[in-house]
Symmetry: C2
Subunit: 390 residues, 2 copies
């Protein structure tokens, strides 16, 4: 990660080289320097620099052909391999009412997960303490921790230098202080989008729209194989695309945003229910008000998705969040509105796919963010140590 | 261009290397192989391959330090340089009622431009003949023509293999047959967006939304420094983002699309005018119906742009097309609606910038497309020869 400190274009080029080498080692296993040079097209001297830096921070180690069981005619070649003892990464997703935590090993296999609830009014500092206690309760050896990825609710604006603002910075600093490692932070819905696109319902798709219907409505967009961040890091706020200019006032200051139709509170307001399980039970029991409330949410969702699709032309749409549990009562009207308002050649055979990763998606995305292990993260230089991007 | 035929990831990597070398030569002038190796980080053998391919297709040539006036102690080094005799490129933008043509030299300097009108009902084959006659009328030596970039009205869907469908294919084939060179084709509004983003009102911005208000409404989006294409090549159809689910029927089959509010025909319908100059004159004269029609168009534009901004978070919005001539009567209400409906942290100090390149923007974007000379085109492998992408 230290290499990321190199400023400007050269730093980006260098990070690109590093990622290419790590990707080669992940895909092919241990390789000799000559093999890496041939496969990457890098010169020996560039390669030597990059591999040296990767060794220095413990990401790769040297081994021998004999040790890996490879046949090595002649002089035993030294091979470069991913460090099996490299540290674990931690992902934390701070929602409005609970934190999800996941621990992954060096190969990005999930070693432990857990969740803890807190009151919506809980301050960030206390949420961080809850999360750290949860990690301790896992009783797993974190070994040399590589870094922590953190998701927070709400937009995470950031400057050109990659520094996040607001809650994200406060949380990243507190987490970094606790663990003494670099912390990467982003909006937790965008992290869920990253996880769904990388290993969930959207895996294999290079153009995807993810929307999460929960207490709020958020989203994330993958375009041309990259997670969109936008000029200031706030891309993907699908919950605040207007449905109706004269619609209900929204917490964001606007009117008629999707969130005022297709969030849990909006559906409860419209159906007269007390909580989501109650509203879903009423829907199941054939309650007309509940049905109408989910239909209204679905129509608004489909209309907004039609506009988003005409704008970015995805090949897949993934719908997550607790509200998606309503199934056809919500997604049916949404697909109907999508068909009515998306361009025929854009909508093609677009369907709404339910999210695959459940409520832990944000923590998985946070791990991917800190490990910077997804090609979707090209252009996402978000890692920070002690409040400074590295 | 032949190198683009190499399939899959290796082809993309190779194209990346080629573009890096061409960019180095553009930025630094003639360079020795050793200098290119050092600056690009490529190995001698990879470099030799890539330079060989570039030489073969006439993009670069060798020269000597003496010939370039560089001091060369010791053995005279062979230098690689962009081929000053490399061919010109041609850009053609086929609108509904006229074609714009531009000719550029190897350094992308515009050598000639022109425009010819035709009736809206003119078939594509005839439009191509009009454009070819216009090129001949320039009486400029096209030299070894590198390729032609073509813009057409309407969405240009295309498959994973990059082959455009519909009118774009018909026009590209006819143009390719006439000139006997590779042809790149895309929607002409997206080409205008490319030109505005690369060298117009959006130059220097890596996240930009371009919208063109004309007979129809189209757009183009630059996100993270790349022109978005979408899964099937139809990204940027901002004219078909819904303003009101119950709005007027649109030619696309939807209802209440932006195009039904903010296109020339929509404004003329609402104002009762016969043509745009008349409507602009009425506006100037204080006519209430004209003012109301432009206000309605502006409010719809701002509402849709707010949704697009909340989705992709641009740092700049560029408004082009004949309707933009209405100035504040249109853009004022649009900015007001944008401020009301875009998230505070997304809209920041976003303003609507008038387009800078005028009606010739599409032809300039077509030249950039065929020359593949903009970093915005990463991920746009669109060149075709005889209907086949190369």
């Amino acid at each position: 990660m230290a290499s990321g400190a190199e400023p400007g274009v050269l730093g980006l080029v260098r990070r690109g080289h590093e990622e290419r080498i790590l990707a080669l080692l992940r895909a092919r296993g241990p390789l000799s320097r000559a093999e890496i040079a041939r496969l990457s097209g890098l010169s020996r001297s560039t390669l030597s620099d990059i591999v040296g830096a990767l060794q220095e921070r413990g990401a790769v180690v040297t081994t021998t052909a004999a040790a890996t069981g490879r046949r090595a005619p002649g002089r035993p070649a030294e091979l470069i391999t991913l460090n099996p003892a490299a540290g674990r990464t931690l992902g934390m997703d701070f929602g409005h009412r609970r934190v999800h935590v996941a621990v992954a090993d060096a190969a990005q296999r999930v070693a432990a997960t857990g969740t803890r609830s807190y009151a919506r009014s809980t301050p960030w500092a206390r949420r961080v303490r809850v999360a750290c206690a949860l990690v301790e309760s896992f009783r797993v050896d974190l070994g040399p921790l590589t870094g922590v990825g953190v998701g927070v609710t709400g937009p995470v604006p950031r400057g050109r230098d990659g520094r996040p603002g607001g809650a994200a910075r406060e949380v990243a600093e507190a987490v970094g202080e606790h663990f003494g490692v670099p912390v990467a932070a982003d909006n937790n819905t965008r992290l869920a989008a990253l996880a769904e696109a990388a290993r969930g319902a959207g895996a294999g798709s290079s153009d995807l729209v993810y929307v999460r219907l929960s207490d709020g409505v958020g989203g994330g967009i993958v375009a041309d194989g990259r997670l969109l961040r936008g000029a200031d890091g706030t891309a993907g706020e699908i919950g605040h695309v207007p449905v109706d200019a004269a619609g209900p006032p929204c917490g964001c200051g606007g009117r008629g945003c999707l969130e005022t139709y297709a969030s849990i509170p909006a559906v409860l307001d419209a159906s007269g229910g007390d909580d989501l399980p109650g509203a879903l039970a009423a829907l199941e029991a054939g309650d007309a008000a509940a049905r109408a409330a989910f239909e209204r949410a679905g129509r608004a969702l489909g209309l907004v998705l039609a506009g988003v699709c005409n704008t970015v032309a995805p090949e897949r749409i993934v719908v997550g969040g607790e509200l998606a549990a309503a199934g056809g009562a919500l997604l049916g009207p949404a697909e109907e509105a999508l068909r009515r308002h998306a361009l025929p050649m854009v909508r093609g055979d677009l369907r709404l796919s339910p999210a695959a990763l459940g409520p832990g998606a944000g923590a998985l995305g946070a791990i991917a963010l800190v490990a910077h292990d997804s090609p979707l993260l090209a252009g996402y230089p978000f890692l920070m140590a002690g409040g400074t991007p590295v």
